[in-house]
Symmetry: C2
Subunit: 328 residues, 2 copies
């Protein structure tokens, strides 16, 4: 291997509904610097864009990153994005953001190349580039949070579909007459196995009289139970929380079996808070997926937790930007 | 456009459990000659292979196809196939066929290049090459027969997955606690919306006392009801048969909505006998898929009946062979 003297770097921004996470990465995806601030979206769109601009400028200044080596900035946004035009069409997590020309606006302000993509695509690309998905030719990535986002690498390429709307694995129905989803379908994986679903299951059980340590974890305010609270309680041995983890693991296993039969992937990576639960979750997921998928593809697939944590989306965007520039 | 003087042709064989269908195709996929015979698989594997060899030799002789212009033979087999080695590992439709080196055996007998692929991949490729899927960059193809087979073109390439087991859309569960499938899962699309499912629904309704013209169509032998009989009765206005068509259209629409959310495809093509039912089926399929998929990808996707009929798999193999030789 030859050692190149490439000192260029790219910046990735993970624009979330509650946090903005920024990294600077070298050509190998190593993080040179990172920053994290609240989105404060109630201040309005312009304020959030100002905040992204100043976070990038501060990151360069605070870390002595030379401007001339910056190749560009990639922005991962939580919504429907057109990577070609760099427009964010709409976002459930950023209410009121419609048809926002992120690439044009930030490109003008930062005077550098900008690419925009969906945040779940970004996380998938990050995990594939230097995370748990490394080495996979075909990778399915599920990001489990409020809902379930998806990203897909096929034959070493990010697959977005012609409108950039592909890999919505959270909106695969696995129970066609099941619980109604905002997307218009029913029994979507994201309605059954997201953090939101875990919280709902906990509240319903408590309301029907189940005793659990979760009640005291939220000081009796059961509307404050989240997926993280359930995960935390399960780790501490709370029986109800454990049952909920087993139940969502089963749903995830069913959804993953479908995806194993559809893609014959090398790896399936689960990211997001829920994926941090560890062996209890993953063992059940694998058990259910094995029962329900064909033997040959199941023998190949590795079902793994993501390894980049909070950096995944931002690193992914730093990588997508680099790949985009290489392909221009 | 320049007119080439290419006179070469390729042969495609669709090896089915009951019929062997053979075509010779020119470089544009135009059928130069075709033949169809019973598989007679009860005579044993050797006899079936002999039959394929003689069908190819007869096709050349009977149609004055010059041996020197034959580029090779593609064989589509109903089972798990390794395209690299040309081995058919196993087949539900050809019981007892395990690890059959189709490429080596037929290559030796016919002294030409042989490629082997899965029959559903072949049908998808055929429809994409010169059928209803033409012009699609990303195509999802469902072949609805005894079960539901799948084939997938992504970015203009047949996608098989690393083990060649991808695109098993018939084994996507849409009702996780539903009817048990031989694959180990439950509520698979192929259990709910195949020809077999239609026949089962008809028999169950008749056994529970429903009157229908189907009973006389099979002379009271209700075990002889098939998906074709149901389709035929629906066309003749039989109410029960119509309800069954509506029901499987709903299931197909649900499964297709999942695939639209996953792939953002240009086209979804339905082939096989059931797809011949026409507007009543397709209107309901589209209606259900629209309800359950995202607006942007639904606006793009065309959901269409296959156009190559019985030739699809054989033409597809003639095309896959040509593509394979071009890529060597």
């Amino acid at each position: 291997m030859t050692q190149t003297l490439d000192k260029t770097y790219t910046i990735g921004i993970d624009l979330g509904g509650t946090k903005i996470h920024v990294v600077a990465c070298d050509q190998n995806g190593q993080v040179l610097a990172r920053a994290r601030r609240d989105t404060k979206q109630w201040k309005g769109r312009e304020a959030v864009i100002d905040r992204m601009v100043s976070m990038v400028e501060d990151l360069l200044a605070d870390n002595d990153l030379p401007r001339r080596d910056l190749l560009g900035v990639g922005i991962g946004a939580p919504g429907l994005v057109d990577p070609d035009s760099g427009i964010l069409y709409s976002s459930v997590m950023l209410p009121g953001w419609y048809d926002v020309p992120l690439a044009a606006t930030l490109g003008g302000r930062l005077r550098t190349d900008i690419v925009v993509d969906n945040d779940a695509n970004a996380a998938a690309y990050g995990e594939w580039w230097i995370g748990a998905g490394r080495g996979a030719n075909t990778l399915v990535c599920l990001t489990i949070g409020t809902g379930i986002g998806g990203g897909l690498i096929i034959n070493g390429q990010l697959y977005r579909g012609p409108d950039g709307t592909a890999s919505e694995f959270g909106h695969m129905s696995i129970e066609y007459d099941g619980i109604e989803c905002i997307c218009g379908s029913r029994g979507c994986l994201g309605m059954l196995a997201s953090g939101t679903a875990m919280a709902r299951m906990a509240r319903e059980a408590i309301e029907s009289g189940r005793k659990t340590a979760m009640t005291s974890l939220v000081k009796g305010q059961i509307q404050h139970i989240t997926g993280e609270i359930v995960a935390q309680a399960a780790e501490q041995g709370d029986p109800l929380a454990g049952e909920i983890v087993d139940q969502i693991a089963r749903y995830l296993g069913i959804g993953i079996a479908n995806l194993v039969n559809i893609f014959n992937p090398d790896k399936v990576v689960l990211s997001g808070g829920v994926a941090q639960i560890g062996d209890r979750l993953f063992n059940r997921v694998r058990e259910e997926a094995e029962k329900r998928s064909f033997d040959v593809p199941f023998r190949r697939v590795q079902i793994l937790p993501a390894s980049l944590g909070l950096d995944a989306g931002a690193i992914g965007m730093a990588g997508i930007l680099r790949m985009t520039l290489a392909n221009v």
